[in-house]
Each structure stands twice: as structure tokens, then as C-alpha cells.
């Protein structure tokens, strides 16, 4: 974890080490005397963190090297030591059921995290801009907008699980009994096909099908290196592209390129294809099949966007009005004013929102577990997240060893991502 703070130059490390050594030799006791209040103050926290963070994490990492299952859980840390076999099962044993389930979960978690983080940020930005005007009842509107954020997550899962129900859920009642979208679809489909749009989509699907042949390995059996490479490529590629284009041209170009490339990579890597025509079935299953991914993304956005709205609003209020006035006098359009003034100045806010969004969404658990079977069921191939998968592996199938190994891997990946993001965030702080 120290490398979060890793100094850029190696020489600098030596320098620091040398000075620290010197200081220690000179006056360890004096330093302690000087800062004794600080040490006393953090001591209880340190003890707590040692017992409830450090010790468990060490045990957790050690557990990932053990064959811990229902037969050996009684021995706990004395279980047979198998070193990296759990990791091998997860990463290389192509046919093992744990690996297949976990890869589904990884795919869902990636889709979920990206959509939720972008969705909360986008919606929050939109409403923050709406609220950042002078009108009567603004405080009340802000309070009311914050309401979903107060609803506990387990209640969110329960509530949306009820709303997504096929027969009795309000969403299907509204879509099919009020809007009659299946009838509209049946009317539009001939026109759609007559215009040749269905044909075009079919061609596009075929095209993606061809180019995705290599990428479809993600949830099937393939060598580890392919998976890792594809993930890094699909995740980091668009982001790097954005920063490159932002520096070279402008944020708009970067943003559009990011959206296009990321969407494309997403589609092909998860084998999602556009349907050639609208579905005319009467009531869709939301908690079954591929729809599940949307059924978990939308409630999460609903629950978390008020927080981003609040933070972005606070950030917006610190931007002086004169900047906008000057830009307006210079003839900048509102669109341009947003991208040239608001967005860069809000960088510290959205940077931290993305950071915590990443952490919380990857570790999201309550909403999904409460939505499917109301706390008792399996979320399905397209609704299973990393956390629910590991939880089920550990506490329902008693594969504690592989569960711990998966947690460790997840943690490592997260540390790498967060480390990257922290550097970016730091740079924004300097910029400010």
C-alpha cells in the first residue's frame, strides 16, 4: 500500500530513507516527546485498526493459500497448505465451475461499475446544474432530491425487486398496461424493417460477431493471459485514449472518442448485440436473463446519484460568476462554457466521486442480494456481482479458500486502479 505514495524518483527514496535514519538516531525519543499528543491521539485508532483490519487481512491472505472447505473449516489456519492452488483454480483451470461463475461476476461487476459511476455522475451533474440557479424553493428541492440517498440499500433492493416483478411490478404495469409498448412495437416493426434499419442492425451485429470472436473468450475457457490482456485493454484503453486526446485536442474530442470506443469495446467484449427489431412479448422478465444487469444498475444509480448531485452542487457554488459572464461576453455558448469552465474547475469533485464510486460499486452487495429472492436467491448469470459471488462461494458452498483468493485478487486489482486514479487526483489538486 505504500506505493500509493511512491515518490517519482528512486534517488528521492534513498534520500528520505537516509534522513529518516539520521533523525531516528539523533532523537527518536525527542521526536516522540515532541509529538506525544499526536501519538496518544491516534493510538486507540491504531489498536482498532490493527485488530480489525490488519490481523484479519493477514489471515485472509493466508487463508487464500489453504484448502479451506466444509471439511477443513474446523481446523481453520491448520488446514492443508496448498500455496497457489486456489489462485490456479480461479485463473487457469478453464473448466472449473468456480472460475466460470467468477468470470460472469467479473463481467457484470465491470459493466455495473462503469454504468453506475457514469450514471450517478451524469445525472448528478445535470440536476446540480438545474439547482444552481436562483429560484424560490431551491433548498426544498435539494432536500427532496436527496431523499433516495436516505433510503437504506437493503430497502432499495427490496423495493426495486418488488417494482421489477413481472406480473405485479409497477414498471411492467406502466410499460405494458399503460403505455402498451408491445402493441407499439408490433406497429413499428414493419416500418422499421421497411426502412431497412433492421437490415443495417443485422449487418452491424454480423460485423461485431466477426470481430468479437477473439473477445468472446472472456466468459468462456481461454488462457489467463487473453483474459487479463482483454480486460486491461477494454478498461484502460479508452481512458488512456481520453487523456491523450484531451491533451492533444480538447476534452470534447476525448470524451466523444472515449464514449465511442468504450461502448464498442463493451459491446464486443460482453457479446451484447442490438436486437434487429423491438420485442413484442407481453411482459418482460426483469429479474431473469440478460435484463438483470439493468435491473441492478438502475436502482443503484437511483440510490447514489443524490450524493454526487450534492457534492457537485457545492463545487458549482464555489465557481465565481464572473468567469461565466466573461465567457458569455466573449461569445461562448453554454455548452462550451460548461466544458471549458465548469468541468475543469470541478475536477477535484468528480475525481473523488469517481474514486469512491469505483470503490463502493465494485464492493456493492446489499442491493443485489436483497433484490433476488429477497435475500435468499441466486441473482443469475447476468446479475451476479463479485461480492455476491464470493459470498455465495464462501458461505453457501463453503469454499472459503477460493473465496479468499478471489478477494485478494480483487483487492490487488482495486489497489492498482485506485493508485492510478489517486495520481490523477493529486495532479488535479496541484492544478487547483
Amino acid at each position: 500500500m505504500i506505493f500509493l505514495e511512491m515518490p517519482p524518483k528512486i534517488m528521492y527514496i534513498f534520500e528520505v530513507a537516509l534522513t529518516m535514519k539520521k533523525e531516528k538516531k539523533k532523537s527518536a525519543w525527542k521526536t516522540f516527546r515532541k509529538y506525544r499528543f499526536a501519538y496518544y491521539f491516534i493510538l486507540p485508532t491504531l489498536i482498532g485498526m490493527f485488530i480489525l483490519h490488519f490481523l484479519p487481512i493477514v489471515q485472509g491472505i493466508y487463508m487464500s493459500f489453504l484448502r479451506l472447505n466444509q471439511f477443513t473449516i474446523g481446523e481453520y489456519l491448520a488446514a492443508p497448505f496448498i500455496f497457489l492452488e486456489n489462485y490456479h483454480t480461479i485463473l487457469f483451470k478453464a473448466q472449473s465451475p468456480i472460475r466460470i461463475g467468477l468470470l460472469d461476476a467479473v463481467r457484470n461487476t465491470v459493466i455495473y461499475t462503469v454504468f453506475v459511476t457514469c450514471g450517478t455522475l451524469g445525472l448528478g451533474m445535470l440536476v446540480a446544474l438545474m439547482l444552481n440557479r436562483r429560484f424560490r424553493g431551491r433548498a426544498l428541492a435539494r432536500t427532496l432530491f436527496l431523499f433516495p440517498w436516505i433510503v437504506p440499500t437493503y430497502v432499495t433492493g427490496l423495493l426495486w425487486g418488488f417494482m421489477w416483478q413481472r406480473g405485479v411490478g409497477i414498471i411492467n404495469i406502466f410499460l405494458y398496461d399503460v403505455l402498451h409498448i408491445h402493441i407499439w412495437a408490433a406497429k413499428i416493426n414493419p416500418i422499421w424493417n421497411g426502412l431497412g434499419l433492421g437490415f443495417i442492425i443485422q449487418k452491424f451485429n454480423d460485423f461485431i460477431g466477426i470481430s468479437a470472436r477473439g473477445l468472446n473468450y472472456i466468459s468462456t475457457s481461454a488462457p489467463l493471459i487473453v483474459n487479463i490482456f482483454l480486460f486491461i485493454f477494454a478498461l484502460v484503453g479508452p481512458i488512456l485514449l481520453y487523456f491523450y486526446l484531451e491533451k492533444k485536442y480538447s476534452p470534447q474530442v476525448g470524451g466523444i472518442a472515449f464514449l465511442v470506443v468504450a461502448t464498442y469495446l463493451f459491446l464486443i467484449s460482453f457479446n451484447i448485440q442490438f436486437p434487429t427489431q423491438f420485442s413484442t412479448e407481453y411482459k418482460a422478465f426483469w429479474l431473469l436473463g440478460t435484463n438483470t444487469i439493468w435491473a441492478i444498475i438502475i436502482p443503484t444509480i437511483w440510490r447514489y446519484w443524490p450524493l454526487s448531485m450534492l457534492m457537485l452542487l457545492a463545487g458549482l457554488q464555489t465557481i465565481p460568476e464572473e468567469l461565466y459572464e466573461a465567457a458569455a461576453i466573449d461569445g461562448a455558448s453554454p455548452w462550451r462554457r460548461f466544458w471549458m469552465i465548469t468541468w475543469p474547475l470541478l475536477k477535484p469533485v468528480w475525481a473523488i466521486l469517481i474514486l469512491f464510486g469505483l470503490i463502493y460499486n465494485v464492493y456493492s452487495f446489499n442491493i443485489v442480494i436483497m433484490m433476488f429472492g429477497f435475500g435468499a436467491g441466486f441473482p443469475g448469470e447476468w446479475g451476479d456481482l463479485m461480492m455476491t459471488n464470493i459470498f455465495r462461494n464462501s458461505f453457501m458452498q463453503w469454499n472459503f479458500g477460493t473465496g479468499a483468493a478471489a478477494s485478494v485478487l480483487l483487492m490487488l486489482v482495486m489497489i492498482v486502479i485506485v493508485n492510478f486514479w489517486m495520481r490523477f487526483y493529486r495532479s488535479s489538486e496541484e492544478y487547483r
Binding site: 500500500m1 505504500i2 505514495e5 499526536a38 491516534i42 485498526m49 431523499f147
Partner: protein, 603 residues
């Protein structure tokens, strides 16, 4: 057309406003839907009905006084109409479930499952309510209430599984005087109807008939009749002073106590329009029988049956009646005769007046539509079904104490890392952020086993106790609190502290008297945030609490697993879990908003 800058501004603001309000409604809709569903009937939810259903206003009884007739409906509504010109003169609604009516000289007795016994004055429809000692019954499971009146006494019973007694209620004193036990060789039975001949109360039950002697207070004789009356004796009236007329889903029967059995049967084989008897009226030698498809007239002397089927043309759209049409809906639930007119009450709430001389509908009237059913009962059911009070208390104790301890630790640590550049401060800050990156599940097994082992070694139980949960929660939420609080302490000017030091304060005094008061708003904000997060926590509470330290999320999860189809109770539970934090947020939102945004803007 070119608009001025201000006009454009106004227009765009207007559109943004509309969009904002729409978005607000959309955002709040799920919460509103949760609360709305929690007071809906589960049958409505399962049928996919969006609106609240109305109580059924079918006319179940019709009574008279000199100028008026009273159409009494199944939801406890009493409609008063004039006989002459069919004008509405008054309405009273008891908002009752499962009603029965008795008509006296100048009062109407109304029995119900939820309000006990109600006496309604015929003159001005003023009421008086009498409680009955039936508190231990679950009112949602009472299927029928039955009354029988003779002199100043009302015999009262309910159809309820396991309730086998008849209460004796004195109308003068207004209280229950006596209770008769009905246990006999037919038990267990459910009471369906009552009738009185001499000193014997005849009790119609689902398995037949029994005679209750009032002097001995015991069931003297039982008559099992399940072969002929499979659904039991639904209706019962005295017939020629010594016989009983029984109505059921298989037709009308005449029971003779002296012969000790059924002596006659009138059903569709004799020409009745249907076997399903809903109501009947005995007028000397003529019986008017209301059935589920219409009305029949049976003459006892000649044995002739006349069915009024031509009066009952079924209309499209159920019981909805076009204005001005002579129409009687098909299910006749109440029959009553006054002079030459027969009053028929239908399941759709329509009263039709049949002129017996001309055999034609003279007039019709409609009872007022039933009240909206708001099922507050769901909350009572919820409280009965799960131990919600305990969970609520546990949640408050654990979250409150954890917040308190976490705040103390976090305040001290945040102060020290924002003020002192001691060796290790950077490492500590990084460690704080790093703790957020460890998946909670990774802690779970080690902590569980550590707790169990610690309990074995020292005898101090940690698993399943308040202390263990508070310890875990406070240690877990400290790092993030430090992260938020750091900004607050950094914002307090250092000069203040230096001045205090120069005036002779010790470092402790500086912290206590200068820094802490200034940081209170931030500490409160962080505390609320921690409380909300702890209230939300499911997975640790799931594994580490026991039956009597369970918090709300765990309780709800367990409960919901057992009641998969009770969406009403589920939503009631969700509402109850949300309301405490809603209140907390509403009262302290100023601090929360300030605290969170201050942390955000400073980074």
C-alpha cells in the same frame, strides 16, 4: 423572429424548471410507491391493480320504518331512502368489515369484525359503539359475524376457526352478560347462523345444526348434515313458529325439531332459479328466494315456483347500470317486503323496488360507493409477525454506540493528523484510505473465527453480543470518518491555537476549549453519516449477530425469506426501516449537507 437575451433566458429557465419538477417526481416515485404499497391489500397487489380497492357496497340487508327504508351494505354503510319517492335522506358508514344487521323498532344493530357492535338510531343515524370481548381474535380472519335478537338480548357469534361460543349481550345494560360454550361431539365447528325457538337457540354450523339450551347453557343435541348441506347452514330462519328454514349452497331445507330431521327440500329440481341461496324472505305461505342468478317465488300451499328471470337482464360491464333503466343485478343478497313492495338488494349496491301487484320494477336506488380500503392493518400484522421492536432497539443501540465511539476515535485521530507532522503521519493517512479498498467479505471469516476463538479462550463472548457489534462497527467506520473530519480541522485557523498556547493553555486544553467547539458541526455531520452507514450494514450483522441482537436489515431479510408473496408486509417492513433515518435526516439535514459538501470541496 429574434428574441431578446432576457426573453430567451426566461424561456429556457421555464423549460429547465419543468424538467426539474418531472425529474423530482420520477425520483421520489419509488419511495411513494413503497409507502403506498404498504397500505394496500395484498390481493390487490397480486392482481396487479394500481388503485386502492373500494370496500364492497353490496346491499346485504334492508330494513324499514314508517316513511323510510334502510339499505345496509357490506362495508357498514347505511343508506336511508324515503319509501314514497325514493329520495336519499341520510348516510352513515361504519367503515366496518364483515358485517351483519338486525332491525329493531327504532334502532339498527350493526355487528362487525373490527368495530364490535354498533347501535344506529333510525331517526338521525346517530351511533353508539359497544366493544365485545373478542380482542384475542385476529380480525382479518373473522369470516362472518352473526346476530340474533329476542327481547332485550342479542346472541352474538362469529365465524372464526377455533371460536366455539355464543355471547349473550344485554341491549339495556350494553354489555356481555354471558357466554355459552358450544363444544360438542361435532367439534371443531365454525358458527354460521343463529335462530331461536322457545328456550332453545339453534346454531347452524359448517357441519350441521346444534341446539343450545339456554337454561342449562349446554348443547343438548346435534344434527350432522354434511351430506345434504356440504357448506353448512349458511342461513336460518324460524318457519311456522316451530320449524326452521335453512338456506345453503344446495337449496332450501325445512328442518323439524320434533321429527329430528330435514322434512322438505326446495331446490332447482323444484323449479328454483338456482341452488345457491343468498337470501330469503318468508311471508306467510310465500317464500321469496334470492339466489346468485335472480329471484324466485315459492308458494308453499301449491308448491308452485315463479322465477322473475325476465326482470334480471344482465348488462354488459357487470353491475354498472345505465341511468333510468329498470334493472336488477343478478346476485340478490337481500330480500325484504313492505306492504305490496318487495325490496331487493344486489351485490352491486343497487336496491330495486318490485311492485308485487303489477310484477314490475317500480323504482331503483343506488347505495353510496364503498370507502377506500387503506390497510393500516399491514403494520399491525408486521408487528405481530416479526419482532420488529427488538430489531429497532438493537439497531439503535448498536449504531448509536458505534457512532459515538467512532466519533471519539476519529476526532482525536483527525485532529492529530491535520495538525502535527509527526513521523508516520503519511503512512497513517495512506493506511486509512487503503482500508477502504479491502473487500468486507475478506474480513468476515477471520473476524468470525477470531470472535469465536476469543470467546473460547477468555470466556468473554463477542459473537452475537452488542459489545462485539459495536466494536466492529466503530473500528470499521473510523477510517472514513477521519477522512471526512480532516478537512474540518484543517479549516480551523492555527493562529487561534497559538494564541491560546501563549495565554497559558496546555495542548489538551487547547484541544478541548478551542478546537473542539469549532469542529462540532463537522463532527455532527460525520456522526450522522456514520450512523446512516451503520444502519445500512447488512453482511456483518447477518453473520455476527444472534437472535436477540439482530438488527433491522437481518430481521427484514429473514422475514422476507419467509413471506415471499406478502408484498404488502414487505413494503411495510421497508417503510418502517426507512422512517427513522428519514426523520433523522430531516431534523439534521443542515449539518449533513454542510459537512459532506465541505469535505468534498476541500478534497
Amino acid at each position: 423572429m429574434k428574441l431578446s437575451y432576457y426573453a430567451k433566458n426566461r424561456i429556457s429557465h421555464y423549460f429547465i424548471h419543468v424538467a426539474m419538477v418531472l425529474l423530482l417526481l420520477l425520483t421520489l416515485f419509488p419511495i411513494g410507491w413503497m409507502i403506498y404499497s404498504s397500505v394496500k391489500e395484498n390481493t390487490d397487489i397480486l392482481a396487479g391493480r394500481v388503485a386502492l380497492s373500494r370496500a364492497k357496497n353490496g346491499v346485504v340487508a334492508i330494513g324499514f320504518d314508517n316513511q323510510h327504508y334502510f339499505a345496509c351494505t357490506g362495508d357498514g354503510g347505511i343508506n336511508k331512502f324515503t319509501k314514497v319517492d325514493n329520495q336519499k335522506r341520510g348516510y352513515y358508514s361504519a367503515r366496518a368489515m364483515v358485517v351483519d344487521y338486525l332491525f329493531d323498532e327504532d334502532v339498527i344493530w350493526l355487528s362487525s369484525a373490527n368495530h364490535g357492535l354498533i347501535r344506529v338510531n333510525k331517526d338521525d343515524l346517530s351511533t353508539k359503539e359497544f366493544k365485545l370481548p373478542l380482542q384475542e381474535l385476529d380480525i382479518s380472519k373473522i369470516a362472518k359475524t352473526i346476530m340474533l335478537k329476542d327481547g332485550n338480548t342479542i346472541w352474538y357469534s362469529v365465524r372464526y376457526k377455533g371460536f366455539e361460543s355464543v355471547l349473550e349481550f344485554d341491549t339495556q345494560l350494553g354489555k356481555v352478560m354471558n357466554s355459552y360454550d358450544l363444544s360438542s361431539d361435532l367439534s371443531p365447528v365454525q358458527v354460521l347462523s343463529l335462530a331461536k325457538i322457545g328456550n332453545t337457540v339453534w346454531v347452524g354450523v359448517d357441519k350441521g345444526l346444534m341446539a343450545l339450551n339456554l337454561t342449562s347453557g349446554k348443547v343438548t343435541k346435534t344434527y350432522p348434515m354434511q351430506s345434504k348441506l356440504p357448506t353448512g347452514v349458511d342461513l336460518m330462519k324460524v318457519y311456522f313458529e316451530s320449524k326452521l328454514m335453512l338456506g345453503s349452497s344446495t337449496g332450501l331445507f325445512v328442518f323439524d325439531p320434533n321429527a329430528g330431521g330435514l322434512v322438505a327440500r326446495i331446490d332447482s329440481s323444484k323449479g328454483l332459479i338456482s341452488d345457491q341461496i343468498e337470501a330469503f324472505y318468508i311471508n306467510q305461505n310465500i317464500i321469496y328466494v334470492g339466489t346468485n342468478v335472480g329471484l324466485s317465488r315459492y308458494d308453499i300451499r301449491t308448491g308452485k315456483v315463479k322465477s322473475f328471470s325476465d326482470l334480471f337482464q344482465p348488462l354488459k360491464g357487470g353491475d354498472k347500470v345505465a341511468e333510468g333503466k329498470d334493472y336488477v343485478p343478478s346476485i340478490v343478497m337481500a330480500v325484504a317486503k313492505d306492504r305490496d313492495y318487495l325490496y331487493l338488494g344486489s351485490s352491486g349496491g343497487r336496491i330495486s323496488v318490485l311492485d308485487l301487484n303489477q310484477v314490475a320494477i317500480a323504482d331503483t336506488a343506488v347505495s353510496k360507493s364503498g370507502h377506500l380500503i387503506i390497510a393500516w392493518r399491514n403494520y399491525i400484522d408486521l408487528w405481530k409477525n416479526i419482532n420488529f421492536g427488538l430489531y429497532l432497539r438493537n439497531s439503535f443501540v448498536i449504531c448509536g454506540a458505534a457512532t459515538f465511539f467512532a466519533m471519539i476515535l476519529a476526532t482525536l485521530s483527525a485532529y492529530s493528523i491535520s495538525r502535527f507532522k509527526f513521523p508516520g503521519v503519511k503512512l497513517f493517512s495512506v493506511a486509512i484510505l487503503a482500508t477502504q479498498m479491502i473487500p468486507g467479505i475478506m474480513f468476515l471469516i477471520p473476524i468470525y473465527i477470531m470472535f469465536v476463538k476469543f470467546g473460547q479462550w477468555t470466556g468473554i463472548p463477542l459473537k452475537g453480543t452488542f459489545f462485539g457489534m459495536i466494536f466492529i462497527y466503530s473500528a470499521f467506520f473510523v477510517p472514513f470518518s477521519i477522512w471526512i473530519l480532516r478537512g474540518f480541522f484543517a479549516a480551523i485557523p492555527r493562529e487561534l491555537e497559538e494564541a491560546a498556547r501563549i495565554d497559558g493553555c496546555s495542548p489538551m486544553q487547547v484541544f478541548w476549549y478551542v478546537v473542539l467547539p469549532l469542529a462540532i458541526p463537522g463532527i455532527i455531520a460525520t456522526g450522522i453519516y456514520i450512523f446512516l452507514t451503520a444502519w445500512d450494514e447488512l453482511i456483518f450483522a447477518w453473520i455476527l449477530t444472534s437472535a436477540d441482537t439482530m438488527t433491522i436489515p437481518v430481521g427484514i431479510r429473514l422475514f422476507v425469506g419467509n413471506y415471499q408473496n406478502r408484498f404488502d408486509l414487505m413494503m411495510a417492513a421497508a417503510t418502517v426501516a426507512t422512517i427513522p433515518v428519514m426523520i433523522l435526516f430531516f431534523t439534521l439535514q443542515k449539518y449533513i449537507v454542510k459537512g459532506l459538501t465541505a469535505g468534498a470541496v476541500k478534497g
